[in-house]
Symmetry: C2
DNA sequence: GCTCTCCTTACGGAAAACCGTAAGGTTTTG
DNA sequence: CAAAACCTTACGGTTTTCCGTAAGGAGAGC
């Protein structure tokens, strides 16, 4: 089991609840923070001192307040940490029940667990801790069901990029150029159109605007 | 101060935290529920028995689980209750820090308070309880600042409808027809175009897709 | 009454999105 | 190797969006 764990959640009540669970599991070193920046600094310093954390349990949404922060979301925190400290295990513990988001984080950021807070979130978190300690990946059943169930399968990284650019108001011609300069293929305008057509079909969207709306609802964006 | 209060939040930890606060304020009757349907039924029954609740404190997002529910979000719950029991005061207590959403709920549903959970959410909730008891409306300072600050002012109900239809993939010509049949004016295609132009300008959107994306981020949709 | 202003509608042209078809390449397969 | 299947790109036409300009109408103020 883990020896040194960092908990990052802005809500004190949640934060404490997780700590209680970790105590039950007899984890010796537990640190709690309420800001992403604090989480990053703690992990960086511990690593430098040769006393690295085994695990980070983090929320995704951190409510901004008077303290200006460099890292303002759990997603950003995950991206930065997984890049800088690949060995650090990360469990995301959040209320966001978006399957697309979970899928995204697991496949592109390689997080080790995605647990949705909920009526019995702590029980799921306990299960996740056991599995992740054994180098496995845990996803909350509800989320897992949605992912394997229907939507958000067959969606490639290119699709996500296309949807992101689209949601930023970029016309298809420019998206084609973007794909060319970033060496994403296929990149022709015709190919972009085809890709979009496929996505519209897949999600049952009437047009690009509708498509972006659906993607945002699913948490893909 | 209030005598009979219902708390609706799916997360037990939050639920308990609020209860503790209400105890401190010496509120005699406190009920907790974890589902929107339960909240609705409790309120309906209490009203029928002539022992109506004074106040509902509710979250907005309720995570779905095995129990199938008729009312699946706090927003739906608010709409239903404010229609059926206009005298019931409602404070929304949520992590959603979307100014557009708060604005929307206050102006169209006439909720009495919008408190964002956060690092000192309970302190704000306490303040809200005092004000709402005096028939005033409370909005968390952070949210208030955003609303009065810049965005989401000057956005009419028609604008919201337009954005919603747009996000559902409806072409402008059909939106014009929709406005005509629902007696919303102006309704001509030209007017719809103009309205859209204004909204694009206002939010700095490049096109309709971008506009919908921004509106969703702000919580207007 | 009148004019002025504001709101709504109408129109025309350029840009972009949408849609089908087909040509040129590449990979797979027998 | 050759045929087939698949992928990528190209092109033309229709619809929709975007944008400027202008005409028609209602109301405000003089």
């Amino acid at each position: 089991m883990f020896k040194k764990v960092l908990i990052a959640d802005d809500l004190i009540s949640v934060n404490s609840g997780v700590e209680t669970l970790l105590n039950e599991l007899h984890i010796p070193q537990i640190t709690k923070v309420q800001y992403c920046d604090d989480a990053y600094l703690k992990i960086k310093e511990a690593h430098k001192n040769g006393q690295a954390y085994d695990l980070l349990i983090t929320d995704l949404s951190f409510i901004p307040d008077h303290r200006t922060q460099k890292i303002i979301s759990g997603k950003q925190l995950v991206v930065v940490l997984k890049k800088e400290f690949p060995k650090l295990k990360i469990i995301v513990y959040t209320v966001e029940d978006k399957a697309g988001l979970a899928d995204n984080l697991i496949n592109t950021q390689h997080i080790n667990g995605y647990v949705s807070k909920g009526r019995n979130g702590l029980a799921e978190l306990k299960e996740a801790l056991k599995l992740v300690a054994k180098d496995k990946t845990y996803i909350s059943p509800a989320i897992q069901q949605i992912i394997t169930g229907s939507a958000t399968k067959n969606i490639t990284h290119n699709d996500i990029i296309l949807l992101q650019l689209l949601s930023q108001g970029m016309p298809q011609s420019q998206i084609s150029n973007y794909f060319k300069t970033h060496q994403l293929s296929p990149s022709s305008l015709s190919a972009i159109e085809k890709q979009l057509n496929r996505l519209r079909d897949y999600f049952g969207a009437k047009n690009a605007t509708h498509l972006v709306s659906i993607a945002k609802d699913l948490g893909l964006l």
